[in-house]
Symmetry: C3
Subunit: 143 residues, 3 copies
């Protein structure tokens, strides 16, 4: 980030950035989603799993979504309560709450697992990019 | 919008504008809600249905809410993941996720259908107004 | 607030402030949470109950959370649809929707009661503080 970035200025921009990411993910535009990460970006949505680089993130998402091949569902990621803290080297850490809202044929919409997400965001040129994302489901607190 | 509007500047203002609309709608101030649309505004919440003009939007909302005459419920619209894209003639398109949270006597709160909403927003003088709103329930993807 | 605060400028800052409060509350850092209130701050989450002063708010939260001593749960407060209106003496009133998302061992996440929250916010020096918070559950509309 530039030295002029402050959490106060940045919050709306980050919320907007996260919104655009969810629309890409939920629209299954995995290439577009991965392009919002740095080239060496990291994405972990499950303990022990870590996808690295944009190509690696795309591959992971394609693999992950195979489970929906025979399970038609509209998935929407909801993020909320985004807290920003300055990180190293001008980066920012965004910590926020998340769940999915899943709609299946003939069924009601259901909310998926509640999660805490921790991102490291950097500014490259004029745009925000995600350097890393770690998702932790709340139910894992009890394991 | 003025030429100085950018998505970065506008995002918080749009989120606030949408919040105020939901409070008007959920408080059943349909006149107040319709006044947040342009005079010739359009509002479609169901495929094949389209209300036009502020008076038409009020009439549609009065008619729609008749279903709750014998079904007391506190309804709250939750919008999230708002993405802004520039549209024609200085307008902006806001695309976002939505559901209602419905509380009935003696029952738990329940979440209503997950939706994708697409608005066209314009600035008239100093204020934002909705020129059109189209709501699409996710479960219609399976029809 | 200073005379230069406008709802347009303030909205993102308030949303961020509320997010940080929820992380403190949900992390059960009650001292940290209470420190986001003015020294004489008030917090009412149930009709007839009112905690006052930071020490009083901490005591109330400790007491309230005793119910979870034998009921392990990850709680997350979700706030949304934040509307700001100018109040007396440079204060701002924030009115918004809220629920908790509760995850228990072996169970799915569940959404808690839908609420309307009304805060009075003031700026002290450079920071926002909550002067008062009143939470009203929607199901009380039917009592």
């Amino acid at each position: 980030m530039t030295t002029t970035d402050t959490a106060r200025d940045l919050h709306g921009e980050v919320v907007h950035f996260l919104a655009r990411q969810t629309h890409l993910m939920d629209g299954r535009d995995f290439e577009g989603f991965a392009a919002t990460f740095t080239e060496d970006g990291e994405f972990s949505h499950t303990p022990g799993q870590l996808a690295a680089t944009r190509a690696g993130i795309v591959a992971e998402l394609v693999e992950f979504h195979r489970r929906f091949d025979d399970d038609p569902v509209v998935r929407r990621h909801w993020f909320n309560m985004v807290v920003l803290d300055p990180g190293e080297g001008g980066s920012w850490r965004a910590t926020y709450y998340a769940y999915t809202v899943n709609t299946r044929p003939g069924g009601d919409q259901r909310i998926g697992p509640s999660c805490l997400v921790t991102d490291v965001l950097v500014r490259v040129g004029d745009e925000l990019l995600t350097r890393s994302r770690h998702v932790r489901q709340d139910r894992l607190h009890f394991d």
